[in-house]
Amino acid sequence: MELLIAFVIAILFGIGTYLLLSRSLLRVVLGTAILSHATHLTILTMGRLKRGEAPIYVKDALLSYSDPLPQALILTAIVINFGVTAFLLVLAYRTYQELGTADLSELRGVSDE
C-alpha cells in the first residue's frame, strides 16, 4: 500500500511542480492546491497506513490504533491550506483586475534601477 501511495504522491508532486513553474497565475494556484494534497498524503504515509483502528479511544478495550499524531498535523495543515488558497485566489483575481494580465512573465516587478 505504501508503495502505491508513494507512487501517487510522486506523480502529484511532479504535476504540482510543473504547474507551479508555469506562467499562468491560475495554473500556479492550481499547482499549490495539488501540492498541498500531496503533502497531506506524505505526512500520513510517514506515520504508516492502515495500522489498527481509527484513533477513537475505546475504554478498557485493548485495541491498536492508527497513529493519531500525523492526523492531527494534517488537520491543521488542511485548514491553513484553505486559508492560503482563499488568499491566493483573491490575490490572483485582484492582480488581474488591477493589471489586466494573469501572465507571470508580464508581472515582473520593478525594472532595473
Binding site: Y18, Q71, A72, A86
Partner: protein
C-alpha cells in the same frame, strides 16, 4: 591595576567623551591624555616583576564551555608593546591638542583613538586567540574610522576602504588559522598552544596554519605585496599616522609573529617565507621611499621598510635576531614617532607636505629642524643614536646565518640588508636636508612658516630624546625591557648586552659602506629618480587593487542578475532544482539506494482504482484547457484524497477535507469566473524541458524520501504516548481532537491566527478595490 581594567578603561572613558565636550571648557585632549599616562605609569610598575621572569595572568570567564575566556597575560613582550601603546599614545594625544583645532570633530576623534588604544592593548595582552581576534578586528575598524576622519575628502574615503579591506581580509585568514590551531591542539589558550607546539609543527595542517596566520600578520604589518594600503592610510590626521600607522597598529602583525614564534617558528617554512618577505619588503619600500614627493608618503614607505627589517629578523628567529627585533621595535617607535610629528608640524605651519615646495626651514623652525635631524640620523643608523645600535645588530644577525639557513643566504641577506640600509640612509638625508636646508622657496607656500607652538614640538622633542638617551646608554633598557621581551619570544632567558664598539668587524664595514654609498646616492638622487621613473612597471599592485575593487561588484551584479530575474518561475527552478539535487546527491554519496526492511500494508483492489482516479484527476488539471474542467479535475483529486483518508482510518481528516474541498471548489469557481481562460502556453522548448526535468526530479526525490522514511525508523514514535495518556490526562476519546485542543493547543491557536490573517487579507484586498472605485466615482 588589574590587566582587565587596563584594557577596558579606554572603552569606558570613550563613553564619557561626549559629556566632556559638553561640560568642559578645556580641549578634550587634556582630559583624555590622563588615561594613557596613568596606564603607562601602571605598566612601568610591572617592570620589576617582569624582569624577574614573573608573569601576570588574569581571567574572566566568558564562554568556558567553548574554551573562550577573556584571559589577559602579561610577559616581557606584552609589556614592551603595552608601554609603547600607552607611552606613544600619551604623546600623540598631547600633540593632537595643538594639531586639531576646536572646529574639528574632536568627540569622534578621541572616541576612535580611545577605542583603538583599548583594542590594541587587548591584542597584546590577550591570552585567548578568539578574544585576541576580536580586539584585532577592532583595531582595523578604529583604523578605518580614523583614516576616514576627514570623510568629506574622497582620498580619505579611498584610503580608509583600502586599509579596511586589506587588513580585514588578512584578519579573516588569521581567524581560519586560529580555527585550524584549535583543530590540532583543541585549545584557544596561547599558553596551552605553546605547550603543544610540537603537535602543530608535526601536523598535516602546519603549512596551512602558517600561511593563513602570516596572511593576517603581513596584511596588518604592511608587508609586500599587501603594503599598498599604508601609503593611502596617510590621509589620516598626522597624530594618527604617527600612532596607528607607524608606532602601534602596524606592529600588531609583528607582535603576532613574535608571539607565535614559540609554536610556529623554527621550521624551514617559517624561516624562508618570513625572512624573504621581510627583506624584500625592506629593500623595495626603501627604494620606493626615494621617489615620493609627499613627506608622509616618504615616511609611510620608510615605515614599511622598517617593518620589513623587523619581519626579516623574526624570520631568522635566532636569539640575536630576536633581541635585535625587539630592540629595533622600541627604537623605531621613538624616532619614527617624532619624525611623523615633525612632518605634521611642517604641514601645519607651511600648509604643504610636498617636498618639492619645501626648503630652508631650519632658520624659521630651529627646534623642529633639530628634532628632524636627530630622528633622521637615528633612522639612517648614524652613531651614537639608537638606530645605529639596532642597525649594527641587524647586520650582525644577517652575517651569522651560517648553519641556520642555506649557504646562498650567507651572502644574499647581508647584501640585501646593506642595499636596504643605503636606501634608508638616502631617503633619511633627503627628508632632513631638503626640507630644512634646501633652497628656501617660501613664495610657493600658502602660509608664512614660523616655529610651531610648544604643544606641537614638545612631544616630538621628548620622543626623539629617547633616541639619544637610549642610543648613548642602551644599558638603561637592555635588562629592564629588551631582555624580558626577547626572552618571552625565545622562550628562554636571554641576557642582552648592547654596546657601541664591537671592534673592526664586518657589521662596521657594512655601516661604512652604507654611509659612503648612501651619500653618493643622495648627491645623485635626481639622476637616480630619472632612472627609477624609467624602470617603474606599468602594472602596479595599486592598479590591480583598483581593478579588482571595480571588478568585484560588477561580477557580483552579473551573477545576481542571472539569478534574480524577477520571474517566479526562475526562482523556483533554482530552489527546487537545488533541493532535489542536494537530496539526491546525498542519497547517492551515502549509498541509501537499497530499500530493505520496508514495512508495507496490504493493497485492496478498490484502493488501486481510487489511486488511478486520483492520478487521472491530477492529469486533468494539468491538461484541460478550460477553467471549469480544470477545477472539476481538482475536485476529483480532493475528493479522492478524502476517500483515501477514510481507507486510512482517519475519519476526522475525511470530514474536514470534504468540507474544505467543497468550499474551496466554490471559491475557485467564483474567482476563476472573473479570470481569463487557460490559454495554451507559448513556451520555448528549452524552458519546457527544464520545467519537466525539475518536476520529475522533485517527484523522484519525494518518492525515495518516503521509502527511506518507511524503511528506517530509529526511534519509537511519540504517538504511543498520546494514545496511552490521551484519555487519562485529557478525558477525550477522540485522540486526534485531544492532541489538537489539549496537548498541542498552541498549534491550533497558531492555526486560527493564520486563518484570521488570511481572512483579514482577503477582506482588505477586496475592500481596496471598492474604495478605489468609490473614489473614481466621485
Amino acid at each position: 591595576m588589574s590587566l582587565s581594567w587596563a584594557v577596558f578603561s579606554p572603552f569606558i572613558l570613550a563613553i564619557f567623551v561626549p559629556l566632556m565636550k559638553r561640560y568642559s571648557k578645556l580641549h578634550i585632549g587634556w582630559l583624555v591624555s590622563i588615561l594613557p599616562l596613568a596606564l603607562f605609569i601602571g605598566f612601568l610598575s610591572y617592570i620589576p616583576k617582569v624582569m624577574n621572569g614573573e608573569t601576570v595572568y588574569h581571567v574572566i570567564e566568558w564562554i568556558p564551555s567553548l574554551g573562550i575566556n577573556i584571559a589577559f597575560y602579561l610577559d616581557g613582550l606584552s609589556l614592551l608593546f603595552a608601554m609603547i601603546i600607552t607611552g606613544i599614545g600619551f604623546f600623540v594625544v598631547i600633540y593632537s591638542i595643538g594639531y586639531l583645532g576646536a572646529k574639528e570633530n574632536l568627540v569622534n576623534f578621541y572616541i576612535y583613538i580611545l577605542m583603538f588604544m583599548g583594542a590594541m592593548l587587548g591584542v597584546v595582552l590577550s591570552n585567548n586567540l578568539i578574544v585576541l581576534f576580536v580586539f584585532w578586528e577592532l583595531t582595523s575598524i578604529s583604523s578605518f574610522l580614523l583614516i576616514g576622519f576627514w570623510y568629506h575628502k574622497p582620498e580619505s574615503k579611498y584610503g580608509a576602504q583600502k586599509a579596511l579591506l586589506i587588513t580585514v581580509s588578512g584578519g579573516l585568514a588569521m581567524l581560519a588559522s586560529f580555527v585550524l590551531i584549535w583543530v590540532v591542539t583543541g585549545s584557544f589558550d596561547i599558553r596551552e598552544i605553546i605547550a603543544s607546539a610540537d603537535l602543530i609543527k608535526s601536523s598535516d595542517y602546519y603549512l596551512a596554519i602558517l600561511i593563513l596566520f602570516l596572511l593576517g600578520a603581513f596584511t596588518k604589518s604592511a608587508q609586500f605585496p599587501f603594503h599598498i594600503w599604508l601609503p593611502n592610510a596617510m590621509e589620516a590626521p598626522t597624530p594618527i599616522s604617527a600612532y596607528l600607522h607607524s608606532a602601534t597598529m602596524v606592529k600588531a602583525g609583528i607582535y603576532m609573529m613574535a608571539r607565535s614564534s614559540l609554536f610556529l617558528a623554527g621550521t624551514p617554512e617559517w624561516t624562508y617565507i618570513v625572512s624573504l618577505v621581510g627583506i624584500f619588503t625592506m629593500v623595495y619600500a626603501g627604494y620606493m621611499a626615494l621617489t615620493q614627493t609627499d613627506l608622509k608618503a616618504i615616511l609611510a614607505y620608510s615605515t614599511i621598510s622598517q617593518l620589513g627589517l623587523i619581519t626579516t629578523l623574526l624570520g631568522f628567529n635566532t636569539n640575536l635576531a630576536i633581541i635585535t627585533a625587539v630592540f629595533h621595535l622600541f627604537n623605531h617607535a621613538s624616532f619614527k614617532g617624532s619624525l611623523f610629528m615633525v612632518v605634521g608640524i611642517v604641514d601645519h605651519e607651511t600648509g604643504t607636505r610636498d617636498i618639492r615646495k619645501l626648503g630652508g626651514l631650519a632658520k624659521k623652525m630651529p627646534i623642529t629642524a633639530t628634532v628632524a635631524g636627530i630622528g633622521a640620523l637615528a633612522m639612517a643608523g648614524i652613531p651614537p643614536l639608537n638606530g645605529f645600535l639596532s642597525k649594527e645588530l641587524f647586520f650582525k644577525a644577517t652575517v651569522s646565518l651560517d648553519g641556520i639557513m642555506a649557504p646562498w643566504t650567507t651572502w644574499f641577506f647581508p647584501t640585501m640588508a646593506v642595499l636596504g640600509a643605503i636606501f634608508t640612509f638616502a631617503y633619511s638625508m633627503r627628508l632632513f636636508l631638503k626640507v630644512f636646508f634646501g633652497k628656501p622657496q617660501f613664495e610657493k607656500l600658502d602660509k608664512k612658516p614660523h616655529e610651531a607652538p610648544i604643544g606641537l614640538w614638545l612631544p616630538a622633542v621628548i620622543l626623539v630624546s629617547f633616541s639619544v638617551i637610549f642610543g648613548l646608554f642602551p644599558g638603561l633598557i637592555e635588562n629592564s625591557i629588551v631582555s624580558p621581551a626577547a626572552s618571552a619570544v625565545a622562550g628562554e632567558t636571554l641576557s642582552v648586552h648592547i654596546s657601541h664598539w664591537h671592534g673592526l668587524n664586518l657589521p662596521l664595514l657594512m655601516t661604512i659602506i652604507v654611509i659612503g654609498v648612501g651619500t653618493v646616492l643622495y648627491i645623485n638622487l635626481a639622476k637616480f629618480q630619472q632612472l627609477q621613473a624609467r624602470l617603474t612597471p606599468k602594472i602596479s599592485l595599486n592598479r590591480i587593487y583598483d581593478w579588482s575593487i571595480d571588478a568585484i561588484p560588477k561580477t557580483g551584479k552579473i551573477i545576481t542578475d542571472r539569478q534574480m530575474t524577477g520571474f517566479l518561475r526562475d526562482y523556483l527552478v533554482f530552489i527546487l532544482g537545488y533541493v532535489s539535487l542536494s537530496i539526491l546527491a546525498t542519497m547517492f554519496i551515502k549509498n541509501t539506494w537499497t530499500f530493505t526492511g520496508l514495512d508495507l500494508a496490504s493493497i485492496e483492489i478498490y484502493e488501486v482504482l481510487l489511486a488511478v482516479l486520483l492520478v487521472a484527476g491530477a492529469l486533468g488539471v494539468l491538461f484541460f484547457r478550460t477553467r471549469l474542467a480544470a477545477i472539476i479535475s481538482l475536485g476529483i483529486v480532493g475528493f479522492s484524497v478524502s476517500l483515501f483518508f477514510i481507507f486510512f482510518r482517519a475519519p476526522d481528516l475525511a470530514l474536514t477535507q470534504l468540507i474544505v474541498e467543497t468550499i474551496s471548489l466554490a471559491l475557485f469557481l467564483l474567482a476563476f469566473a472573473q479570470l481569463p481562460d487557460l490559454k495554451p502556453e507559448v513556451k520555448k522548448w528549452s524552458e519546457k524541458t527544464v520545467n519537466i526535468v525539475i518536476s520529475v526530479a522533485v517527484g523522484v526525490t519525494i518518492f525515495l524520501l518516503i521509502l527511506m522514511a518507511n524503511g528506517n525508523r530509529y526511534y519509537e514514535p511519540i504517538s504511543e504516548w498520546f494514545i496511552e495518556n490521551g484519555y487519562a490526562l485529557a478525558g477525550g476519546t477522540n485522540l486526534v481532537n485531544v492532541i489538537l485542543v489539549d496537548f498541542r493547543g498552541f498549534d491550533t491557536l497558531g492555526e486560527i491566527t493564520v486563518l484570521v490573517a488570511a481572512a483579514l487579507s482577503v477582506y482588505a484586498l477586496i475592500r481596496l478595490r471598492l474604495e478605489k472605485r468609490s473614489e473614481s466615482n466621485e
